[in-house]
Symmetry: C2
Subunit: 473 residues, 2 copies
Amino acid sequence: MNQTSNTTTSNPHHWLEQITRWYEKHEHTIINELREFLSIPSVSTDSRFRDDVLECATFLKEYLQDKVGASTKLIPTQGFPIVYGELIHNPRLPSILIYGHYDVQPPDPLDQWNTPPFDPTIRNGAIYARGASDDKGQLWLLIQAIRFAIREQQLPCNIYFLLEGEEEIGSPALTAYLQEHALPAIDVSLVSDTSIPSENQPGITVSLRGIAYFQLDIWGPARDLHSGVYGGAVLNPATLLTHILNQIYDIHSGKIQIPNFYNDVIELTTQERTLLAKGTPPPEAFQQDTGLPPHAEQGYTYHESRTIRPSFDINGLWSGYQGEGSKTIIPASAHAKFSFRLVPNQNWQTIAQLVQTFIQSLIPNGIRYKLHTFHGGNPYRLPLNSPYYQLAEQAYALTFGTQPLPLYEGGSIPIVSLLAERTQRDVLLMGFGLPTDQIHAPNEHFKLHMLKRGIQTIGTFLYLLAHHHESQT
Amino acid sequence: MNQTSNTTTSNPHHWLEQITRWYEKHEHTIINELREFLSIPSVSTDSRFRDDVLECATFLKEYLQDKVGASTKLIPTQGFPIVYGELIHNPRLPSILIYGHYDVQPPDPLDQWNTPPFDPTIRNGAIYARGASDDKGQLWLLIQAIRFAIREQQLPCNIYFLLEGEEEIGSPALTAYLQEHALPAIDVSLVSDTSIPSENQPGITVSLRGIAYFQLDIWGPARDLHSGVYGGAVLNPATLLTHILNQIYDIHSGKIQIPNFYNDVIELTTQERTLLAKGTPPPEAFQQDTGLPPHAEQGYTYHESRTIRPSFDINGLWSGYQGEGSKTIIPASAHAKFSFRLVPNQNWQTIAQLVQTFIQSLIPNGIRYKLHTFHGGNPYRLPLNSPYYQLAEQAYALTFGTQPLPLYEGGSIPIVSLLAERTQRDVLLMGFGLPTDQIHAPNEHFKLHMLKRGIQTIGTFLYLLAHHHESQT
């Protein structure tokens, strides 16, 4: 096969040199085009930006078509369109699904930005803009690596792009799409939307927690009542709410008390726990960061408690009078937002059912309540013996000169587990964000150095993947 | 003694007729003067009304001087002045301390008033204005009854007026004054600032609960943290807050769990409980009113639970995200306002100490919190065998044609217990408000019929008191 000549005739070091030269030659254009991408305020959560999000989808579609050579289309949804693209050499070649998102978080508070969030500015070797790291900048490095490797070098791989405009609002349209439509058969999905520990310590995210998020509303008296006149003869909805929340979670053991909650939790092996422990920040650094001494579930370290163990958090709480001074009322209602982080193999819908049953059992007769289940997501874990993990490991090691760590993340990217479920293939999370990127905050930025490193690493990974495929066939 | 001729030579029925004739003759003036009093917007809580509150104090002082013949002065305080007045015939005569307040609640929401709150309007036999019932209208009937009985009829009693302008903000100035100054020796204090069950069923408030009000602030992480990244390794302040609140109160038994909380509670006798039970609204009416089936402390009826038993209520609760949708944070802080209603002989400062000790014992190491104790107040109870209670009972029975009920109120009027403590005498709460008066709400009003009934009843009470004193000496 002619197309495979590059991978068979040269070694990865040589390939990496080629990427680097290519990047340095096109750096100016790549960055300018990224600036154009970043200057479109594609804030998905705010309807005032609706047209901008749509414009951003079109920009991306056209870019993939014109500059990467993909056949593209906008897949209409109930919300913002999915940018779909195909770059197919030959169906028998290894196929990679690229996932990313073109929407961004709102830029507020605006007055804390040093330069406007949608006027991308380069200073101190970084590009400052909303979305610079999450996820436009990281999507950009994927696209550029593919542009080089597949378009220019004709590396024998097929690429599918599946880029959504609703990640920051929970991916409703893409979730529905994935549930209703079959995806092309692929070998692996590739995502750059995560961070690595530091510029010198790369990592591959191998574990994500799932989430189940709820709002509980309890209605008490028909109106706020005078707590003197009625206190003692009326079940206070705030009191009931605190009772229920306290029944869910035992603060002393750090364990969730809902029956059968832990049934499906997979324990890590001793070896995995040892590897995980290597990534544990020292307690002093943790306390420096959070302002609190670390807390842990009984039987686990605090780092395990926030990564490979389920957790419970109250995210919001409100009832009655919140102003200055005192107001002597029995509130008419009480509300809480709370969520669980889930770990393999918990299923968020099973958990939601358990939560519902448990709460129902705690509501006294005659009390009106509503338990609303927000969109949840399942946990995800990539086995360390996955060949794709090992290829990614090599790619990072070649580019960074340092072996990457497997990263067990406490956060959730529900679309990742859904992609894995629907493709029945691994999802590889090769991130290049840094903890200092200020994502979701004012002055979000992405280091140009990391943009280059990302293109080098992904380009090398594609090379290794194609090479691996050849050696298998 | 010449002055006593009226009381000895005529009977109470005759006296009541005289009051009635006097009232009917002066009704027009009395109501017009009340309108003038009501038209001064003496909103104590809002500094924009500062001058109006001061004007109202002066109006009241001059009225007592010019129309009632009292020697008066304004006692300056840190806040609004106390209107003090004396109407002394002879130090050996029975002396009555009149307490009332000339300040009013804010009129908001203004758009719900049918006529402006400070443009007193008469319709459907009632006067509509902020303060019409609470307390200007009720203070007015006391003043008019005294004007008739003491000024015009020279009834042998001494009157002291102690009228404050800060009742609606918790009586700080009067509380300080009472703690620092001795009061003249008196026989009984008289207050008209309460309600009776209905126009046809008078009552005398014999019991008030005390109050101890707190705000608990718990600080967690230095900022809102991502609940995915940190959840499980950080003690969530909202979780700790709900834990603490839940430790204070057991929702199943309705009992407060703070050690020694009930130590000083006086149990009612079987006879008192039977009398109290007569005033219990039927559960259907209660549910109609509150929208909830009645709740009760174990071992007590729901009416007892809200009148002669202590209670615990969460009055406000806030933490984290309260907006639409979901936000995955561990909140940086959590806050609650909560209060206890207290019963004789609980002391609010003792209770505050118990609460403080209890909460401190529940705060884990390294967690920053603040427990703020707002002004509290002690409970009050007038024994049913008090001679003043019995005289008041007669006065209501004569005027209304119905025996009044002893009323056990769940609410608190901290100044009442303080007056009782400082004078070492009973405080008689002879109210004429109706449950439908809309106090503290838009369209507050006072029935003119009740203004008249009040003047008749208080006038008769004064007569009976003077007569009683004579028979004792």
